[in-house]
Symmetry: C2
Subunit: 252 residues, 2 copies
Amino acid sequence: MYKVKEAAELAGVSVRTLHHYDRMGLLTPKKGGNGYRYYDDNDFIILQQILFFKELDFSLQKIKEILQSPDFDEQHALQQHKKILLEKKARLEKVIRSVDQSIASYKGGETMTPKERFEPFDMQKIEEHRKKFAKEVEQRWGDTDAYKESAKRTSAYSKDDWKKIHAENEVIDKHLVQLMDQEPGDEEVQKWIDAKRQHITKYFYPCSIEIFRGLADMYVNDPRFTNNIDKVKQGYAAFVSKAMHVYCDQRT
Amino acid sequence: MYKVKEAAELAGVSVRTLHHYDRMGLLTPKKGGNGYRYYDDNDFIILQQILFFKELDFSLQKIKEILQSPDFDEQHALQQHKKILLEKKARLEKVIRSVDQSIASYKGGETMTPKERFEPFDMQKIEEHRKKFAKEVEQRWGDTDAYKESAKRTSAYSKDDWKKIHAENEVIDKHLVQLMDQEPGDEEVQKWIDAKRQHITKYFYPCSIEIFRGLADMYVNDPRFTNNIDKVKQGYAAFVSKAMHVYCDQRT
DNA sequence: TATTGACTATGACGTTACGTCATAGATTAT
DNA sequence: ATAATCTATGACGTAACGTCATAGTCAATA
């Protein structure tokens, strides 16, 4: 039988935390006539379980559900939770790479312009764009397996994966830049535009014509995106956008 | 000149977010006679900078400092911030491995007992223990370089690092188990106890005699820890604890 | 035994970055 | 002119406690 402070010290948490758990009905120790909380061995076991799931980054609400529902599918919950953690990690890795690039820019010489600050984010913009459409898709077709699949895929790339993705994209851009004197409807141009779409489909999500057209618009309408793309070559954004529209028109 | 909603949509944030930034003085657009907020190109540049640093996981307060202090050492801030991110990532990876182990335990057969739930956490317990001491150390010697160094080290291990650390530890345990019929003060035993201390020093923190003694006590007093250690062999925790005490006694 | 110091309880506000109403005035479209 | 849409401000809600503030309880000391 330990009183709060002792119990808290043994478990390595704060007194306030135990108060909190008590109040929310997560861990309710016996109470003496004086109103004091007394923690016994059983309470400690529960507390350990709480801390366990907390380590796994579950919310206290979820933990309450887990510990208080005897038929809770813990296995499934863990699987689900792992996915979330992997997504978190992927996001973190993106962020770290961005910071790295920022640092590198500094070392490379003069201060970054505001525009340059956004360079590492081209792929993120694509992601944002996808999410917008994904919301619509979700509302239209619900939480289909295909949709889930694509959503899963995008958040599992490693550092090296991203490098590869970027590299492949550069190849496509290089070819298209060399074709900028051609008509947007030129066969060669259209071949590479198709490659662009395949690239997105392969690494991000099934890029439907609708979505592709949306991307084309974004290329010229979103200044952040335009600037980014035009870095490849002046006027490249407009050219690609036109070519993409031709591509989409041919397929509807 | 865009009104809030339009501006919000262009930037991909909510109207409430822009209200919020305005109120906290982070992004204050021009206001019309009707009290409406009007965002111009310059506001968008600022907003982009805000979003950039937000991606980097800075708090809005920090962002305000960065954007409003002309002599802010952005370079240094980025370096510092990267460290924090790497620590975050390391913690995340720990958690993911823990979840993996939990899942594996399920697949390995019967349901986990509460005790077994804590198995993956031996290293974390060591970490907790270190933190306790670290706090004292910090109060005694302040934020010294040596302390910072050791703190940095522990949160930078990769998946593979941990594997190696575990493997090395197992080797030590294996040898000690085979020496369990010897006296705790036996020379061979003491050699491996020293190896144990070196192991901790190498991978975690300079393991002083004081701290090592604390660990010895923990081995037998913290049931979570004891159970974990006794999995190696029944009675192993007590044996190691005794041997560690002998080791420490010899050195004070 | 009275007092002091350590501990306990409850209550309530603070934190972060907004989300989500609620209320009310302004603008725009029909 | 009326309705639909947009805008503003204000205020409460969120997660998991931290941090007082106030007041009662317990154990040791003078």
